[in-house]
C-alpha cells in the first residue's frame, strides 16, 4: 500500500507545481468545486467496483462482468423511472418512489452477482469463464430492457445520486466512501475478511478448518454485484440516461487495475480495501493530470496498460527470483 500512496503523493506534488489551480476549492450553491473534488467524484464508480472486486480477487477469483452489470442496472433504473412503453419492466409497481426504484435495481444487481457466484462455487467454473458469460450476455440483456434505445429521463430526485451534493460533498463520493466503510467494517468486524483471506490463501486448509468456501465465494460475488449496481446507478443518474452499449464499458479493467495497484495479490489471499481505493484515486488523478497537461487522454489507456504489466511483474515470483538472482550476481 505504501508504494501507490507515494506515487499518488508524487503526482499530487507535481500538480501542486505544474497544474495551476489543481488544489483550489470553492463553494458554489453550497457545493464544493475544484479539481480535487472532481477527481474523487469521477473516481467514485471505480472505487465502488474496486471494493467488490478486491473481495472477489482475494478469494482467488475475478469478476469481468461488473461493467455489464452496471449497464443492466442503469437500464433497469432508467426504465423504472421513464417507463417507456413496451418495456418488460412496466409490470413492476414501483410508482415514482425513488427508494423502491433503487431497491429493485440493486435487487437485479444482486441476482447478477449471485448468478456469477453460483457458477463459480457450485459449478466450479473458472472465475474468468463464469463471469465472461454475463460480460457477453449482460449488455444484450441491458439492451433488451431498454429496447435498444438510450433511455433519457428527468427525475431530479434520482439524478441527484449522480450530480447532487450532501453537506457540500457530491453524493457519489458519499456512496463510494460509505460502501468502502461498510465493507471495511463487515470484513474486519465480522469473520468475513478472515474467511475470504483463508479461502484465497489456502483453500484446502480452510476446508479442513470448517470454512465453507462455497458460501464465502457466493457472498463475495453477490457483494461485487451490489457494488457494481451502485456504480451503475451513479453512472445513470449522472448522465440522466441509460446507454446500454457504453455504460461501464471497460470499467471492469479499471477496477482490476485499481485492486492490483493497491497491492492485493491477483493470486488471492491478503487483501487491502484501502489500497484498492488509493489505486482507483491514483488512476483518476493520473488521468486528470494528463488531461490538464493537454496531452491526449488516450495516453492514459496506454499508461494504464504499462502500469498493470509493471505491477503484475513485480508481484510475479518468477520476476522477483530473476531480479534477486541478478542482484546476488552483482554482489558476488
Amino acid at each position: 500500500m505504501a508504494i501507490p500512496l507515494i506515487v499518488l503523493a508524487a503526482i499530487l506534488l507535481f500538480d501542486l507545481f505544474f497544474t495551476p489551480g489543481f488544489f483550489s476549492l470553492e463553494i458554489r450553491d453550497g457545493r464544493l468545486y475544484g479539481s480535487l473534488i472532481d477527481v474523487v467524484n469521477r473516481a467514485a464508480p471505480v472505487m465502488l467496483l474496486s471494493v467488490g472486486m478486491t473481495l472477489v480477487i482475494a478469494t482467488g477469483g475475478v469478476d469481468l462482468s461488473v461493467g455489464a452489470v452496471m449497464a443492466i442496472v442503469g437500464a433497469t433504473s432508467a426504465c423504472l423511472i421513464a417507463k417507456p412503453s413496451g418495456s418488460i419492466l412496466s409490470g413492476i409497481p414501483v410508482g415514482t418512489s425513488i427508494p423502491a426504484i433503487i431497491a429493485v435495481s440493486l435487487g437485479v444487481a444482486l441476482i447478477c452477482g449471485l448468478f456469477n457466484g453460483v457458477l463459480v462455487s457450485f459449478f466450479s467454473f473458472q472465475p474468468i469463464v463464469a463471469t465472461l458469460l454475463l460480460m457477453v450476455a449482460g449488455r444484450g440483456l441491458a439492451q433488451l430492457l431498454t429496447d435498444g434505445q438510450i433511455i433519457i429521463f428527468t427525475n431530479p430526485g434520482f439524478a441527484s445520486m449522480g450530480s447532487g451534493a450532501w453537506f457540500g460533498i457530491p453524493i457519489p463520493i458519499w456512496l463510494a466512501v460509505g460502501m468502502f466503510g461498510l465493507m471495511g467494517l463487515l470484513s474486519r468486524r465480522t469473520n468475513l475478511g478472515l474467511f475470504v483471506e483463508a479461502v484465497g490463501s489456502n483453500p484446502v486448509a480452510s476446508q479442513l478448518s470448517g470454512i465453507n468456501a462455497r458460501t464465502i465465494k457466493l457472498a463475495v460475488y453477490a457483494i461485487c454485484g451490489i457494488c457494481a449496481g451502485i456504480a451503475g446507478l451513479i453512472g445513470t443518474a449522472d448522465i440522466k440516461a441509460a446507454d446500454a452499449n457504453n455504460a461501464g464499458l471497460y470499467l471492469e479493467l479499471d477496477a482490476i487495475l485499481a485492486v492490483a495497484i493497491g497491492g492485493t495479490s491477483m493470486a488471492g489471499g491478503r487483501f487491502t480495501l484501502a489500497g484498492s481505493l488509493i489505486g482507483a484515486l491514483l488512476m483518476q488523478t493520473l488521468a486528470t493530470t494528463i488531461f490538464a497537461r493537454g496531452i491526449t487522454p488516450e495516453a492514459t489507456l496506454v499508461l494504464k496498460a504499462l502500469i498493470v504489466v509493471g505491477v503484475c511483474l513485480f508481484q510475479s515470483p518468477r520476476f522477483q527470483a530473476r531480479f534477486q538472482h541478478r542482484q546476488a550476481g552483482a554482489q558476488g
Binding site: 450476455a137 449488455r139 489507456l301 494504464k304 498493470v308
Partner: protein, 324 residues
C-alpha cells in the same frame, strides 16, 4: 473396431447438431434462407470474426486466453486506414505494418506469460488497453478508405453459380482456416499446443519446447487479429479506433461453442469454424425474422455459451470419474 461416438468427439458432435439444427430451423421458417447466396454471406459477413477465432483457438487450446483481439482489430484497422488514406502509403506496405504490430503485441504477451508466468487474462487485458489507447491516439474519428486498391479489394469476388459469390475476405478466411487445420494436426507445433493444454508440467517433462510454443501461439493470435482488423477495414471501407469493441467476446463464444474446452487441451479448428457458422446463422436468422432486435444475438450467444459450458463441465467431471 473404432467407435464413431467417443467422449472426445462429443463436443464437436453437439456443435454440428446445433449448427445443422439451427440452419434447418431457420431455413424452414424464413423464405430464401436456404439460398447459396445467404450461405456464402455467412462467410463474407463473418470472415474477420472467423480469422480472429481461429487464432484464438490456439491460445485457448493451451489453456490461455487473449482478451486483446477485439482491440487489435480496432488498432490494425485504423492504422491501415491512416497510413493509406492520410499518409498515402501503399496499402500492401500498410497492411504489412499492421500485421507486424499484431506479431509484436503477441510476442510481448507470449513473453510475459511464458517467461514470467503472469496470468494470460491480465497480460492480454493490458494489451487491450494498449491497443485501444494507441488506436485512439492515431485518430479518434473514423477514417474513410478511398484508396482504389483497397476499394477494389472490397468489391473483389469470384462469382459462383446460383447467384453466390466468394469475396476476398471469405477467400482469406478459408485460407487461414486451411493453414490452421494443417498446423494443428500435422505439425509438431500444433501437437505441442494440445499437449500444453493437457498439462503444462507434463509437456515440459516430455521435452517439448513449452515457452517457445506459448510465445508462438500468442504471436499467431496477434497476427490473426491484425489480419481480422484489415479484413474488417476492407469490409467496412473504413478504419475505426473503436472498431471490434466486444469482438473478443464473440470470438471466445465461437471457440467455446465450437467445442474447445476453455481449460485447454480439447478442441479443434474445424469446431471453431462451426462455432462461427452458428453465430452467423443466429445473426442472419434474427435479421431475417425482422421484428427481433439485434441484442437478441448477444443473449442467444450468451445462453448457448452457458449451455455449452455446463455440458463441458459434465464431460470433464465424467472423465475425472473414469480415470480416478
Amino acid at each position: 473396431m473404432k467407435r464413431l461416438i467417443t467422449r472426445e468427439r462429443l463436443p464437436i458432435l453437439a456443435t454440428s447438431i446445433v449448427c445443422l439444427g439451427l440452419y434447418l430451423l431457420s431455413g424452414f421458417n424464413f423464405e430464401g434462407f436456404f439460398s447459396l447466396r445467404v450461405a456464402f454471406n455467412f462467410l463474407t459477413d463473418n470472415a474477420f470474426l472467423g480469422i480472429i477465432a481461429v487464432g484464438l483457438t490456439f491460445v485457448i487450446l493451451t489453456g490461455g486466453i487473449d482478451l486483446s483481439v477485439g482491440a487489435m482489430v480496432g488498432l490494425s484497422g485504423i492504422l491501415v486506414a491512416f497510413l493509406v488514406d492520410s499518409k498515402h502509403w501503399n496499402p500492401i506496405a500498410a497492411m504489412a505494418i499492421a500485421l507486424g504490430c499484431g506479431a509484436v503485441l503477441g510476442l510481448m504477451h507470449g513473453y510475459l506469460i511464458a517467461k514470467f508466468e503472469l496470468a494470460p487474462f491480465l497480460v492480454t487485458l493490458a494489451g487491450l488497453f494498449l491497443c485501444r489507447g494507441l488506436a485512439l491516439w492515431i485518430s479518434k474519428a473514423s477514417i474513410q478508405i478511398k484508396d482504389p486498391l483497397m476499394t477494389d479489394m472490397a468489391s473483389f469476388h469470384v462469382g459462383l453459380p446460383g447467384g453466390a459469390s466468394l469475396s476476398l475476405s471469405s477467400i482469406l478466411f478459408i485460407a487461414v482456416l486451411l493453414i490452421a487445420i494443417y498446423a494443428s494436426r500435422q505439425t509438431t507445433f500444433g501437437r505441442a499446443v494440445f499437449a500444453i493444454g493437457g498439462g503444462k508440467q507434463s509437456a515440459v517433462l516430455m521435452g517439448l519446447r513449452v515457452p517457445q510454443t506459448l510465445i508462438l501461439v500468442y504471436m499467431l493470435s496477434g497476427v490473426c487479429s491484425a489480419l481480422g482488423g484489415i479484413v474488417f477495414a476492407i469490409y467496412t471501407s473504413s478504419g475505426n479506433a473503436i472498431g471490434g469493441t466486444g469482438m473478443e467476446l464473440d470470438a471466445i463464444a465461437a471457440v467455446v461453442v465450437g467445442g474447445t474446452l476453455l481449460s485447454g487441451g480439447y478442441g479443434s479448428i474445424l469446431g471453431t469454424f462451426l462455432g462461427v457458422l452458428i453465430l452467423a446463422i443466429i445473426q442472419t436468422a434474427i435479421t431475417f425474422q425482422g421484428t427481433l432486435s439485434s441484442w437478441w444475438t448477444k443473449i442467444a450467444i450468451g445462453t448457448l455459451l452457458l449451455i455449452f459450458m455446463l455440458m463441458q463441465r459434465g464431460i470433464v467431471k465424467a472423465t475425472e470419474r473414469t480415470t480416478a
